[in-house]
């Protein structure tokens, strides 16, 4: 492999590396989003059995969420 070819390969390797690192960064963002979505899902599921906080009419979201959760 001549020295010229080495440089060409190096150039394309740099491009490949940059692209893969970009994908990794996207993956990190996706991971963070997954984490937050999961937290929110748990938050919503926890509001399901809200016995100790009766709303003014006693209806609130609980019945709908309960039925949706089933």
């Amino acid at each position: 492999m001549g020295s010229g070819t080495q440089y060409v390969v190096a150039a394309y390797a740099v491009i490949l590396f940059a692209l893969v690192m970009y994908v990794v960064l996207l993956g990190l963002k996706a991971a963070r989003m997954a984490r937050e979505t999961e937290l929110l899902a748990r938050l919503v599921e926890r509001e399901d059995p809200v016995e100790d906080e009766p709303g003014p009419d006693g209806e609130g979201l609980s019945p709908e969420i309960e039925s949706a959760g089933r």
């Binding site: 010229g4 440089y7 394309y12 491009i15 940059a18 692209l19 970009y22 989003m33 937050e36 929110l40």
Partner: protein, 232 residues
């Protein structure tokens, strides 16, 4: 919701096409295209180097166009496209510098040459658009979007001026016409330049779509969070 769904479908199309074109161009560049008489194998760097350079400029152009659109419509989606496009433009610009530097090392023995107007222009471009992000972090909300749009337009206007000033300056100092891609390119080379170019543009579009989808999802997530934390 349906926007995100169709976005996914569009992404499959552009992504697949891009992947195919990238593979095709790689094969073409290394196995099919003839070797350059003057520069030898090193010239093969140019296929991607030039394609990435042009794509980077397209990205900045898209940012400027969406800057104009934001100023007209004030829709945050337009500002979002603008900022993502600038980010991608910067990403590609850095690649231009890196590949250009490797080429310089291969041709001239040094990691940098001030004589190549493209290399110097992209250095200026990187400085310019890095400032774009400084500007963004200095303002908030609607003003941030507005200022970013204005700067995206002004910055893009300065790019051709930078390129020509560097080239003119160089032509006075070094009268030798510095033409790195060759005056008459045979069609067997040109076709692979075109393939590489389309592949890179496709890459830009794909990455743009991915980032926009992610940002939209992030936005929706934030709105959801606010709703749930704000109380029942």
């Amino acid at each position: 919701m349906t926007e995100l769904a169709t976005g996914g479908r569009r992404l499959v199309v552009t992504g697949t096409a891009t992947a195919a074109l990238l593979a095709l161009s790689a094969v073409g560049i290394f196995l099919v295209a003839p070797e350059d008489a003057d520069q030898g194998v090193i010239q093969r760097i140019f296929y991607y180097h030039v394609a990435i350079a042009i794509t980077s400029l397209v990205a900045f152009g898209v940012a400027a166009i969406y800057g104009i659109r934001y100023l007209r419509t004030r829709r945050p989606e337009h500002d979002m496209v603008s900022v993502v496009a600038v980010g991608l433009g910067l990403f590609f610009s850095i690649l231009v510098i890196l590949t250009g530097s490797i080429w310089a090392r291969a041709s001239w023995g040094t990691w940098w040459v001030w004589e190549d107007p493209r290399l110097v222009t992209f250095l200026i471009v990187i400085l310019l658009y890095s400032a774009y992000f400084m500007l963004r972090s200095s303002a908030e909300g609607e003003r941030r979007a507005r200022y970013s749009s204005i700067f995206a337009i002004a910055a893009f206007a300065s790019v051709p001026l930078s390129f020509y000033s560097v080239r003119v300056a160089e032509s006075f100092v070094h009268p030798v016409v510095f033409n790195s891609t060759g005056a008459n390119m045979p069609d067997t080379m040109l076709v692979w330049f075109v393939v590489a170019q389309v592949a890179m543009l496709g890459l830009f579009l794909t990455l743009l779509q991915i980032e926009l989808l992610q940002r939209r999802a992030d936005d929706a997530l934030k709105r959801l969070k606010l709703r749930l934390e704000g109380g029942v």
